[in-house]
Amino acid sequence: MRKEIPLAIMLVTGVFMAVQFFVPHEIPSLIYTNLNKTVQVVGAVALVLGIVSILSIHLAKIGKKQPGFGYSYFLIVFFVLMASSGFLPKSLNLGSFLGHGGNEEGSFFLNMYNYVLNPVQSTMFALLAFFIASAAYRAFRARSIIATLLLLTAIIVMLGRVPIGPAIFGDWIAELADWIMAVPNAGAKRAIIVGVGMGILSLSLKMVLGIERAWLGGGR
């Protein structure tokens, strides 16, 4: 019964969801809406599992004084600060550096979002500018026909995208870049999209029918 009941649940929900796509009547769409809401609620509740996982790892690190355990304090302290702010009553305002988690200007929650989460996100993202340069330098070598095609289209599109390309080479380079994007590229993407669609269909079908059951720990 370890696998039968989950597989049955999957079959029933899967077939229902696939069929309801074609049924405009409101009863299936009512069930559909509520099932989706259920997924949202379960997804939110499951965060508890995630939090327990990460906290237990870092608490264990501190407990065993593993190398680098000092950093784990930062993680735990900042987690507690941030999470607790959401549950403190709004009347208890401890100033901008501590306090409640309201959405309004100057609340601790918003400041943490704006001045801690946000800048780190953006800076991490900005690192990609450096990585894209190093990846281009490392990989764009005219080793073979395929590699040369990759290299040439990349350079043409790069030049065509910025105003300086046409300024040096004339408008044709921007037009060529646009044409590459709009024509051969569109063809390639369409091939990938159709293939992906076929793959998704096949995989979803195998999931619903219980043929693909790696998620249950594999096996037959």
Binding site: N36, S134, I164, N185
Partner: protein, 276 residues
């Protein structure tokens, strides 16, 4: 070891340094090359121009701080065009990192044009599992958003009284930094057939050309360049209104540096060919 051999194994931190310098230097110079407006951006501008005051546009600014340089100018230019014409906005943000950003943008531009919350624009806020929410909103906005971002009951907002679902709006415009754009295509346009325009990062724009061609999108604004084009169409003077245009100058220089390194790499590769 010869020069080219050294170049082949250059420490990538030198490349990092060169890119850094290339980006910081142009802050001190200004070239200002003109930017051509592409048809897929023009069509968005024109469709908004054709709307009547009082028409409602469904707007989904879904981008995180990381994509501000590209998408914020786009978002601002679009909002400026709408608000200056008296077009009303219903906004949501179904990307978990975006809700606060979207709120800031809406409030900022609304203030610029003295637009009143609840009358001229409404912000419904965030709900997880975007695809579900998009589908639910096709039935009724209230299904996913009984309350707006600020906790007001949606039915108490004057503007929302006659708005049930997408079919009461003229178009959906999503400025999107995520694959959430797919959900809008698949579920909002696909299932409810509302004209959909997208503003995306330059990276994503590539993928969405196919959808433009297949008619699932009517307009596509891509990246900083697309944003600069929108700024030119909206046509306000001053750096404050043309952030994307100013940033395009920096792009020029940095692109040249990267291309220089690719060429250098290839020269080194062929110069040392067979030696290895």
């Amino acid at each position: 070891m010869g020069f080219f051999e050294k170049m082949r194994q250059i420490d990538r931190r030198w490349i990092f340094l060169a890119v850094g310098v290339a980006i910081i230097l142009p802050f001190f110079f200004y070239i200002g090359l003109p930017i051509k407006v592409t048809p897929e951006v023009k069509v968005l501008y024109d469709s908004v121009e054709r709307l009547k005051p009082g028409d409602v546009v469904f707007f989904a600014p879904e981008y995180d701080p990381g994509t501000i340089p590209e998408l914020q100018p786009m978002c601002h230019a679009f909002l400026r065009q709408c608000f200056s014409k008296g077009i009303k906005i219903v906004a949501v943000c179904l990307f978990q990192l975006g809700p606060a950003q979207a709120e800031q943008d809406l409030t900022l531009i609304a203030k610029e044009y003295n637009q009143k919350y609840g009358v001229d624009y409404v912000y419904l806020g965030y709900k997880p599992y975007p695809e579900t929410v998009i589908l639910n909103m096709g039935e009724d906005f209230r299904k996913s958003f009984p309350k707006d971002y600020y906790g007001n009951l949606v039915d108490t907002l004057p503007m929302m009284r006659n708005l049930k679902n997408y079919s009461d709006t003229k178009m959906i415009i999503s400025i999107n930094a995520t694959s959430g754009a797919d959900y809008w295509i698949r579920s909002a346009h696909g299932r409810y057939n509302i004209p959909l325009g997208l503003g995306v990062t330059a990276v994503m724009a590539t993928d969405y050309y196919t959808y433009l061609q297949s008619g699932q999108l009517f307009a596509l604004v891509g990246g900083m360049k697309g944003a600069a084009e929108m700024e030119q169409l909206v046509g306000l003077e001053g750096k404050k209104y043309n952030r994307a245009t100013a940033r395009m100058d920096i792009q020029n220089f940095a692109h040249l540096v990267i291309i220089f390194f690719v060429i250098l790499g290839n020269v080194a590769y062929f110069a040392t060919w067979g030696k290895k």
